[in-house]
Symmetry: C2
Subunit: 304 residues, 2 copies
């Protein structure tokens, strides 16, 4: 095993991921858990981190670089924001050092859009953007980053000019679990229904004002015509994603098309949604992007 | 006290309301409780009804007329649907008799829109429409009925031609309680903020595709600029109502304007929303409408 150089941590609202990285950027060990900001705020951030460092036998002197919600006001140590227009390079320079500990632990800042008409914030996605686009990518990109809180970001010559958060993923969870539609999707398990999903993406994209009606139709359709729980669930998912895409795609699209930073099932769904609308979207793996961004930041902070 | 003629019951998903009515249509007694369909399905519909009848000392021979979700498949006795185009007069003729009890208890049917492209159902609102518009009102009406599941209904010469359900109220509840926005609205209590509400109605009406972004901004605004929980809550409420109105008002509007059947705080909010958009809306009290509809049906069933 080569010598570890630093530890990279993506510490989100509800997930914790840690990688032990060597000087060449290779992964030597990995940890994943549900100890996100919400859980860690109770258990203690230092204790959660230390338990994972102990599990991979990380040496005491090894520095740790963190991105994500651990840097929020309600997180571990507030890491502030870089304000838009935000050069991605500025993120590397404003990491907050965790005080009162021997180990060198730093948390990367988020990005804030201090526009009274369209206020917005991100934490974690800026590091994905850094890893996906690089420090000084020339030209314009429109980046779609699906998730609990999806981000649509415009990046021009390495600078985040503006962005919008859509709470699509969280709406899907709340609607599926906490409304009458929970009856319609009960028992859907992992069954897929691409036809229902695509029809719902189109319907939501074409008539976003009907969103609250399109969602209810999933229930009415079952009552009057039957239909599987999977069809209902894919209808909810497709409707909400279709409405998000109606807003995200409403402005000018860059010649290169959309950059889609996503992983797993969510990435698959968004690729299918873009395909349904005949919009070109270049996929980038979100896990790789955040690890790459953390590596770039670690190199800038500790090896320069 | 005059002689009671019948008992009228509005039995919704989460509420139960009962009135003891005399031959002249006067209310002799009233009961309200949270024993809606969901609670009554556990406690037993017959037992819940009997406890309220006992409390008002209703004679054993007195007939009972019920509207609402008690007639659903998951309710007490399935009361079926009148299909669109549905003459309001047809509702009076299809009441389902509760079997196996000595008392004459009947449940009014709902209305179904068996359109594969826009399937929809209502239970309870048909009785409100009957009470608000009458049996054979000439001309065209566009009726907005706010609620957990808001209904927008087109009625032409006493016939429901088509309608759409928007789960606006339920979305508001799920979003306020079960998402990150619960932090933004915590402690809002009953404080009002008409300016935030009106601004959000306009924003949702003008850009419905941005719904999931406009909701999240309520949180971002607090983080970056401060702001009261009441402002955040009224922003959520106004956004969702604004999006609903964008769809509801997208078709042709009748000369007479919108008919708004609503009560209490919800009625106030929708009146303010219509006012914000400079749309004329004639308000009708929903409680009176449903009582009036039940009285008309009772008269048709038992005195003719």
């Amino acid at each position: 095993m080569t010598e570890p150089a630093y530890v990279a941590v993506d510490w989100g609202t509800s997930s914790f991921r840690l990688w032990l990285i060597d000087r060449a950027g290779q992964i030597l060990a990995e940890r994943r858990s549900g100890e996100g900001m919400l859980a860690a705020a109770k258990a203690g951030f230092a204790a959660v981190l230390q338990s994972h460092l102990a599990a991979i036998e990380a040496p005491d002197h090894l520095p740790v670089l963190v991105c994500g919600m651990a840097g929020a006001r309600t997180g571990w140590v507030e890491a502030g924001y870089v304000d838009t227009p935000a050069p991605l390079a500025a993120i590397l320079k404003q990491a907050a050092r965790v005080p009162g500990v021997a180990r060198d632990i730093r948390i990367l800042p988020g990005i804030a859009q201090r526009d009274a008409h369209a206020p917005d914030v991100m934490r974690g996605e800026e590091t994905q953007l850094l890893g996906a686009l690089g420090l000084d990518a020339p030209g314009n990109a429109l980046v779609c980053m699906p998730g609990t809180h999806s981000k649509w970001v415009r990046v021009s010559n390495g600078t985040v000019t503006d962005f919008s958060t859509f709470m699509t993923g969280e709406l899907f969870g709340a609607v599926s679990r906490e409304t009458i539609l929970s009856l319609a999707v009960a028992g859907a398990d992992d069954a897929e229904d691409a036809a229902s999903f695509k029809a719902a993406v189109l319907a939501g994209f074409e008539a976003p004002a009907l969103a609250a009606n399109l969602l209810f139709r999933a229930r009415s359709r079952q009552l009057l015509f039957g239909g599987t729980p999977a069809a209902a669930r894919e209808t909810l998912s497709g409707t909400l994603i279709g409405v998000e895409l109606a807003a995200g795609l409403s402005g000018a699209l860059p010649q290169a098309g959309i950059t889609l930073i996503a992983s797993g099932r969510l990435g698959m769904l968004y690729r299918l949604a873009f395909e349904t609308l005949s919009v070109a979207a270049a996929p980038i793996d979100a896990d790789e992007a955040v690890r790459n961004g953390l590596s770039m930041a670690a190199a800038a902070i500790w090896t320069n």
